[in-house]
Every structure is written in C-alpha cells, then in structure tokens.
Symmetry: C2
C-alpha cells in the first residue's frame, strides 16, 4: 500500500461525508432549491471547488445526500433492532422505532426532495427507488421485530399502515412540535397492534357483518 495515498483518500472521504451531512441540514432548512453546491460547501466549511469535485451538480449532491440519509437510517435501524426489549413494551418500542424513522432532520430534508420531485419528473424517477428501498427496510425490520406472520389476513396491511402512520406523524410534526400527542398515539397504536397481531392463525376478530 502506498503510504502517501491513503491519508489523501481518507481526507477525501472525510470531506465527502462532511458535505453530505451539510447537504442534509441545508435541504431541511432551505429546501431543494436552496441546497446549491455553493451553499452546502459553505455550510460544510469546504471550498466550492472541492465540493464540485465530489458533486458536480446540485442534483448529484441532493441524491447522494438522500442515499447518505438512507445508509445512516439503515445503521440506526440495525442498532435500534438490537436495542428493542423483549417482552412487555416491545411492541411500543418497535412502533417508536418506526415513527422515529420518519422524523428529525433527515425526514425534513427528504420531504423537501419529495416536494421538489412533485414538479420534476426526472428527480422523481431517481428518488422513487431510494424511497422504496427505505420503505422495504423499515417494513422488514418491523415484521421481524414484531414476529408478525404476514400470511395471516390483515397483518401485512396493518404493518404497512404503521409505516404510513409514521410518515403522517412526521408530516404533522413539521409545522408544530407535537411530541406529547405523538407519544400518546404511539402508545395506543402499540396496544391495537398487539391485539391485531395476537390473533391465532386464520382467526379474524371482526366477523363478516351479517347486519
């Protein structure tokens, strides 16, 4: 190995990581239009030239930032999975984990990209597969942690609904800080989830309405 090269590669990786972290913050705070290479370089304390070497265009930078968020989310998910308690409180911890996956600065940054993609078909085409990957990973983690049997009617939809609920809570939280409300909903949804998932295979608690 060339001893002179490694530190340079190391520095380059560190610069790249600093730019991506800065891009997430700038996206969340100023929106997709405001997340120019220049603005992100300044936020990261990196020269504009160095930033452009890594990310020639604003779109390159935004998409790399989205991938960076997803990678980080994947890691957090794996750490979260390891930390979920067994027994009582497990379901609530899982629901909280899913809800947390759609919150914070990452969610705010991603939302700005989704909003921009609504009027930009090319951007939409590029971010949709990334979002689908994120959805699949969170879904898979939730199913595993809940020990949910998706062959039981309704279980798959209920786990999916948990993700949609989390996304909606993230959106509600964007305008107003509704932490206490969110905590109550998480708690109640965990109870509901327990009762839906605890059905014996094939059983449904709501018989076809004969009325």
């Amino acid at each position: 190995m060339d001893a002179g090269r490694e530190p340079q590669q190391e520095r380059s990786r560190a610069t790249r990581a600093r730019l991506l972290d800065a891009a997430v913050r700038v996206l969340a705070e100023r929106g997709a239009a405001g997340a120019t290479v220049g603005a992100v370089a300044e936020e990261a304390g990196v020269s504009r030239g160095a930033a452009q070497h890594h990310f020639p265009t604003r779109e390159d930078l935004s998409l790399a930032a989205l991938r960076h968020m997803l990678d980080r989310r994947g890691e957090e998910l794996r750490r979260g999975v390891a930390a979920v308690p067994e027994g009582a409180g497990r379901t609530e911890a899982v629901v909280r984990m899913v809800v947390d996956a759609f919150s914070g600065v990452d969610f705010r940054a991603a939302l700005q990209l989704w909003a921009a993609a609504a009027s930009d078909p090319v951007l939409r085409e590029r971010i949709t597969p990334l979002e689908e990957r994120m959805g699949r990973e969170v879904h898979r983690a939730a199913v595993d942690l809940l020990g949910a049997d998706e062959s039981v009617p309704g279980v798959r939809e209920t786990v999916q609904a948990t993700l949609d609920l989390a996304r909606g809570l993230g959106l509600a939280n964007l305008l107003t800080d509704d932490g206490p409300r969110r905590a109550r909903i998480v708690r109640q949804w965990a109870l509901t989830l327990d009762s839906v998932l605890a059905r014996p295979p094939g059983a449904t608690d709501a018989p076809p309405d004969t009325g």
Copy 2:
C-alpha cells in the same frame, strides 16, 4: 340595489375564484416558489394587473389559496358526511373519506406550502392555524360519523391516528400512484377501527377479541 354595480362585483368574485383555483394547480405543480402572482394570473387567463388587485403578493395569494382549499374541503366533507351509508361498510366509507381529505391536487398544493413553511417562520406562523382548523374539522366529522365515544380510553388517539395515517398515505402517494395498496390499507384499518371502537359501552358489530 345599484343594478350597474352588482354584475361588477359578480365579475370580481368570479375572477378571484378563478385565480384561487389556478393558484392551487400552480402550487401543486410548481411549488411555492413557482406560484408567483404572474404565473397564477397566466394560468387563470387573467391579466397580471387584475390578479395583483386581488392579491398584491405571492404570499397573499398562497394563503388565500390554502383558505380556499380548506373551504372547499369543508364543503366536500359536509357532502361526504351526507353520503356515508349506515350499517355495513360505514366505517370503511368514513376511513376512505378521511383518506380522501388528504389526497389529490389540494393535498399536493398544501404540501408545497408546508415544505416552503419549513424554511420560512412567518409563513409557518400563518399556515399553522389553518392546518389546525382543517385537522379539527376532519377529526370532528370522523368522530360524529363513527359514533366514537372519546371518553373511552384509546378512542381519541385511534381517531387521531386515522388522520395521521391519511396524511402519510397522501405523502406516499405523492411519488408513486399506490391506489391499490391504499385501498387494502383503508379496508384493514376500518376493521381495526371497528374492533377498537366497538368496546363497550356502545358495542356494535365487532365484539372485543377474546382470543
């Protein structure tokens, strides 16, 4: 009444309504930054001067468009309430009504305003009360239609969760058309809602799960 004045007021009202409808479309398609008074005037087929007479600034126009959407949503809600069937299928119809309240061009337009408000505290302060009004109205309609007793523990949170679910489904739908998935989730959510709401007192068609 001055016979010459009334038609003018009428025309003015019609112009205003045309501008607001156009503003919703432009917001949804081009985002908050793209919804300038000039762009909306052009979309509405109204002169820029006439548009500026009604709405001096882009912000005036955007906020009026949001109010316009909420008024329209309120009307749709009242019509929807009248159309919800009694008996079997009622809960699913209510869930669909709530989900529909967070979809379509109005939702996409509102989302663009929320995204813009994330980086604009003044706009955020102005749109938050409007969003809260919308949330309260949909919540109230859902509670009434479901005959939900919010004094029963968990009922209030579950109805609120229905709104958050709807918001999340709207957001998921922004990038990909997921109508079939949404229909399955609505159906399952209605079953879950029935079992949560059907707790005594006031038990209806879905007995508590004893399994």
